[in-house]
Point group: C2
Chain length 473, copies 2
């Protein structure tokens, strides 16, 4: 029984072809059966003969049916068909399916969202971006769309980034050392491909950035947790480990927010020298620093070419333009180009051009100043409100920089209890436990509060609500 539906996107002959094909595959039409004549089927379905003929021709050219002169079309017997039965194992059931695809829906009904999946709605420079997009589209030519070009990034963007990184982070490099990518995840996965022959292991801070850990895991590396001290990774433990590549967040440790001081930076570089190691420096939110000038990057004091510097526009501009970058030391550049000779830059060429213009015309500097001022305001308000409502019942960690703090509770409450109590009254906060590899090291008494995505006027109310839920219930 062939059913023709009204979906105009699928030509009728394809629909007919599909259904007959499926019936042959599933043996509803057994091998060597005579099919209805073209004329007969066209009358039954009320379609033109031509349509049926097209369907039969397609089936015939693919070997499902064949025409016997004088007696019409017959299905073919296909040896292998019986093997191709569907198995139901591993299929998502409906519940899981819904969970996967609708999981975020209930977070939107929450009144106060302190999680880190959301960015402030008022800070993207939409008008300027529209203007530049428009200009870029006016000036762009055919050629830009029709070539594999700018293999490792648009040159103008590399130049702007070089200037910006020099000025703001002390990073010294040529434009060619800057590899543009479609975000931190891809940068890291390229590095995983690059370092495979150096070592099958990567050392990371514990606690540390769990996304980086998943990427290393997924890329087949053994991940070595190295204890975090107050001032950054424990370099002695790193020496004792067998890691030759280490991933660190020295300018704003994730998640604790601590800052690695110069002496320790030098120790870490010394480790790299002695062990011929490589340091991946993830400087993911260097734009946000409040109580002191930003400390220059590790890259800026690395004179032996052991540091790969990573950055992203996801935090400071927009996670949806999908642009990140890494700065390779000269010593790795040759190897990189050999390895990825056949690869192409993964960031959209147009977005790269718009961003380059954005930086070149001074909008980026202005934008950074603006988000910095906004972030300080929110940061100060958050700290002040917490002190007012929670006082000495909590300890605030990592308040000098970034867009989040950790809140440690002294009243014996556990992480999941705090999250649960918050959720009940509409305040969403993030767990911290996920960032510890050695779970027993974690005292299970903290939560993370991200304030990048919450409006300033909701901070006081949000913290008061959370405080009431936790302490006055």
């Amino acid at each position: 029984m062939i059913i023709i539906n009204n979906d105009k996107n699928i030509p009728i002959y394809i629909q007919i072809y599909e259904q007959i094909k499926n019936e042959i595959i599933t043996e509803q039409i057994p091998g060597d059966s005579k099919l209805p004549s073209i004329r007969g089927l066209s009358e039954t379905l009320n379609v033109s003969r031509n349509t049926v003929e097209n369907a039969y021709q397609q089936l015939s050219s693919e070997g499902y049916i064949k025409s016997k002169p004088g007696s019409g079309y017959f299905s073919l017997k296909l040896d292998s068909i019986q093997l191709l039965k569907p198995t139901n194992e591993n299929l998502l059931d409906n519940k899981e399916h819904n969970k996967l695809f609708q999981d975020t829906s209930d977070t939107e009904s929450l009144k106060f969202n302190f999680t880190n999946r959301c960015y402030s709605v008022s800070e993207f420079p939409l008008r300027t971006w529209k203007k530049l997009t428009n200009q870029c589209m006016q000036s762009i030519d055919f050629l830009s769309f029709t070539k594999y070009d700018a293999q490792f990034g648009v040159h103008d963007l590399q130049i702007e980034l070089m200037k910006y990184l020099k000025k703001s982070r002390g990073v010294s490099c040529t434009p060619e050392q800057i590899i543009i990518s479609s975000g931190m995840e891809y940068s890291l996965s390229l590095l995983c491909q690059l370092f495979r022959e150096i070592s099958p292991k990567i050392a990371i801070e514990d606690p540390g950035y769990s996304v980086a850990k998943s990427i290393f895991d997924n890329n087949g590396y053994s991940v070595l947790p190295i204890r975090l001290e107050k001032n950054g990774i424990n370099v002695e433990e790193l020496y004792k480990s067998s890691g030759k590549v280490v991933y660190v967040t020295p300018s704003h440790q994730f998640p604790t927010g601590s800052l690695m001081p110069l002496q320790k930076r030098l120790h870490l570089l010394e480790w790299a020298t002695r062990k011929q190691g490589i340091i991946i420096e993830d400087d993911y939110d260097s734009e946000f620093r409040y109580n002191s000038r930003p400390i220059p990057s590790l890259q800026s004091i690395d004179s032996i070419g052991s540091v790969v510097y990573l950055g992203t526009f996801s935090k400071s501009l927009s996670p949806s333009i999908r642009i990140g970058y890494m700065v390779l030391p000269q010593s790795l550049l040759k190897k990189y180009y050999e390895h990825f000779d056949s690869y192409h830059v993964t960031a959209s060429l147009m977005q790269q051009k718009i961003l380059a213009q954005f930086m070149q015309l001074g909008y980026w500097d202005r934008h950074i100043r603006r988000i910095h001022i906004n972030a300080i305001k929110k940061h100060n308000l958050l700290i002040q409100t917490i002190q007012e409502y929670m006082g000495d019942k909590v300890i605030i960690h990592g308040q000098d920089s970034g867009l989040h703090i950790l809140l440690e509770f002294k009243n014996g409450l556990k992480e999941d209890e705090i999250i649960e109590k918050g959720k009940k009254c509409g305040v969403l906060v993030s767990p911290v436990s996920t960032y510890w590899m050695r779970k027993k090291e974690y005292k299970n008494n903290m939560i993370m509060l991200s304030y990048g995505g919450i409006a300033e006027d909701k901070i006081v109310e949000g913290i008061r609500t959370l405080s009431n839920a936790i302490f006055n219930d």
Copy 2:
């Protein structure tokens, strides 16, 4: 001696800070030396005292200098400094540097470019794309730029792709099975991450697509070459190999252009069933098919969920918008979501939205028809011209589809001689040897001619010139 330059991008205090820092690191200023007074230095450099003070403060907060009350600023002695000497090993020398970054320049002076790095300049629908970009920017809101959204792809684009793939390639899937990425390279590197625990080996066609091979290599897989027969991969050899994952190009084998017929497709699916194997079906240029209707994809006859279907917009629309996709079987979806729970889609959100609109409004279908007609014209002209000028001195391979053919020479000339002769008279063609893993299987008598990137009116002249160079020299 501190030199202040006129680069307005770098604040003067940073320049001062940088130079003093470098002198301390390189011990030009030894430890515990007294620095010039703020007043003295500001007069010497003719800058404000404030500027020097800022520089000193920065140096001080980073631990390079310290102030002794009443006696001024002193440099600190840093233990680890002496280790941080640059090494010159592995650095690119100037020549290599130029080679890496300017290698393509001479190809542009060539009159006839038959390589596959270039696409036809007249076929990108620039005007429509500009209009849609403009519309998209008008209707887009802040929120789109300020959230990590659409984790595995913009839903509208997934829906449009589902409809298109169903219609054109018989691919059956839900929108959620379609994972959008920033191109085939990233799709494959995600699959490498996903399949790591299934097998450390990947079987590929030999000859086959060398870019895929490099990606598998870079991701640490052992690549198993499986002999290619006239009608596709040798399934018996695949059985004998220890591979559980196989990468194939069944609808247009790369580079030979052959088509895998239905019976062999069923044998391959049978292999997957018996071995619980996975088939990666790369359908990279399915839009270009000339002498018959496109054969449906492997995915469309796979009822056991063993096929991952890969596609890209790089060939059919533009390599610079950086959008590709893969269709996962339901059976892998759960595993995929678990694995990549913390990842985000790498294609620009805006480009995805524009493309979705492009498809939704019917421009895509029109575009496909147009490039198809153009490609046929060029294809026919190329074949006809080759027959006219080279006649039976050559064999043409893979002329039914795609945007390239292979040309086999019967006169005993070797690949590199042909390429060299072409280059001398301004005709650039690509080698084929790179696609064979088992080099001795290759007879070294072919070249690849890609006609996607050459204008129609240059084809005759290009082929005549090449023919003269090869046969009449």
